[in-house]
Amino acid sequence: MVTGFPVALAAWTLLLAPLAAAAGIPLLGLHRKRLSASLAIGGLLVPFACACWLLLHTLQGSLHLPLEVKVSWLLLPDLAIPFGVLIDPLSLLMSLIVTGVGSAIFIYSTGYMAHDSGYSRYFTMLSLFAFSMLTIVLANNWLELFIGWELVGFCSYALIGHWFEKPQAADAGKKAFLVNRVADFGFMLGILALWAHSSPLAAERTLNYQLLQTRLPSLLQSGWLSHETLVLTGLLIFCGVLGKSAQMPLHVWLPDAMEGPTPVSALIHAATMVAAGVYMLCRNFWLFQGAPAVLETIAWVGGATAFFSAALAVVEPDLKRILAYSTLSQLGYMVMAVGLGGHVAGMYHLTTHAFFKALLFLAAGSVIHGTRRQNIRELGGLRRSMPWTSATFFIGALALCGFPALSGFFSKDEILVLAHEHNALLYWIGSVTAGLTAFYATRAWCVAFLGQAPEHLHAHESPPVMLIPLVLLSVLSIVGGYLGIPAFLGEPAGAFHWDVAATSLAAIATGAGLAWLIYRRKAIAAEAIARRCAWLHRLLVNRYFFDDVYTWYVEQVQQRLIAGACALFERFIIIGLAVNGLAWLTQLAGRAIRRVQTGRVQGYVLGFCCGIIALLYLAGRF
């Protein structure tokens, strides 16, 4: 049995190592590239080792999860907020993903960002991001989760806007942060409501997961927490997920986030940050279980996001944006899974998705690194010039489509089974989306990697330091399905539904086949299809006009109407009327009174006598 100090030490290093690295780099190695890279990577490998050590012990049974280590961050008589580490299978799995995939991406980015001016600033932010992601994962109460939530938002802002000279990058960073902040507004209210209704006695209010979970039933019976407030709180908390995991109405920031360096997109906008929302849903599934209405909405939002973003990827020319839309779609799958009650299935897909999507992004990164171009129409024939990258990209694409025997197939299949059992319409949407996924994956593969390379394209293979992580991740994408992750999370996978598997395979086959015909054989001209259903094409290219609506709102309604009106009110009413008006009035009074001094002596004597008369009158009155 191993307990006590070593475990606590492992838990704390798991959380605080990246923070130490993030603090170390600016202090020690601000202009020394090698030192900052090694500090950052060390800051992630050490927690990875701790996580593996803990995993080893749990598997051997010598460590009983859930293990909680905490210190009181804010201690007041009527408010005690701890800051701790809660390790249970769910959080251990997630921390393994974050540290594992993270270290691969860190190593990769030493190559990718080799001659970038903000090298150490980049690695500081990455380490800080890792720390905040681990805070979300290992939090044992809602507030610590919220703290991690916000810090992750900040790190993504800083990393998206890493090349801040580029105006689009700066705007993309700002947009990401603000959209997240709007979502966090709802999330904060949700936490506040939860905290307020956590107990009738003000002193006993808490945000701790375990305590809330145990108290929930009694609160509901005692009527202190009515069902409506539970639904409302659930929806508000789901608001946070909308922003962080880029679900339908607040998904606009993810495609623009591709302005950041590709390893960032890989780490943040594929593997970890966007998954935080799903992880939060799984972690606090007990809250939503009591409110079926909330789960219903979650499922539908997930389904809609999956389908619509997959459609967008079909027409997207930019390689990274295709992968971004694919992430959106896969996240929709995970949220749908949670909405349908299968939070374990959601986590399973999250894990596998982390592997193959990180792989795809890194491969795309090495393509960009090699060719300096992102538009797939300007690429082609990379199979020959960049063998390793194209091979790993191919494996990732297969896993993404859910090709049988690869990890994607198993996890997506779980979700489709769930949909099949609970909601027929969502099941159909899921299958069609699977088809679409296959379509755009094959399209990207054929256009970018097959065919002849355009004449002025001279691609060169990336250095080994970038290829090793690619290979590692491709291995994981293949093996991911067989690691028994659902079992580890407590719900072993159910019986293998042949009919669901069959329909999904059919959908994948049609999608891939169609794409092969259009883009490899060029049997049907892509432009012809585009012309025939032009309005659909325009709709998809303009991303359902979400961006236009939002920009219109920000420029017109918010800036000109509301803020402008307030500024005008301030300038002309409060300053102009109230303040200057008062000053002008006293000036006027001054000038009027001054007129009394006519300068003529007899006027003064007249004044004198009037004074006397007034005095006599006053004497009469008092």
Binding site: R595, G599, Q602, V605
Partner: protein, 100 residues
């Protein structure tokens, strides 16, 4: 039968006439004259009260008031002469350099 009130009413009237004179006449010297008139009205009141109280100190006060009035006239006329010489006018309302 002449009572104290008769004298006081007379002194009040003289006082008012003096006051009216100051405000209406433009010539500074005449203003000074009216001031003298006001002082005389006050003297009359003093003597009347001294008589009714049977106490002579009223008359002593009149003695002082007369001297003050005389001093007043000297200074007044000095300034009037200065004004006539320097500002070449004796009308009070034409002298309004200092205003507002």
């Amino acid at each position: 039968m002449i009572t104290l009130t008769h004298y006081l009413v007379l002194s009040a009237l003289l006082f008012t006439i003096g006051l009216a004179g100051i405000m209406t006449r433009r010539n500074v010297i005449l203003i000074l004259l009216c001031v003298e008139l006001m002082f005389n009205a006050a003297n009359l009141a003093f003597v009347a009260f001294a008589k009714s109280l049977g106490d002579p100190s009223g008359q002593v006060i009149v003695f002082f008031v007369i001297t003050v009035a005389a001093a007043e006239v000297t200074v007044g006329l000095a300034i009037a002469i200065l004004m006539a010489r320097r500002l070449s006018t004796l009308n009070a309302d034409e002298v309004s350099l200092l205003k507002w």
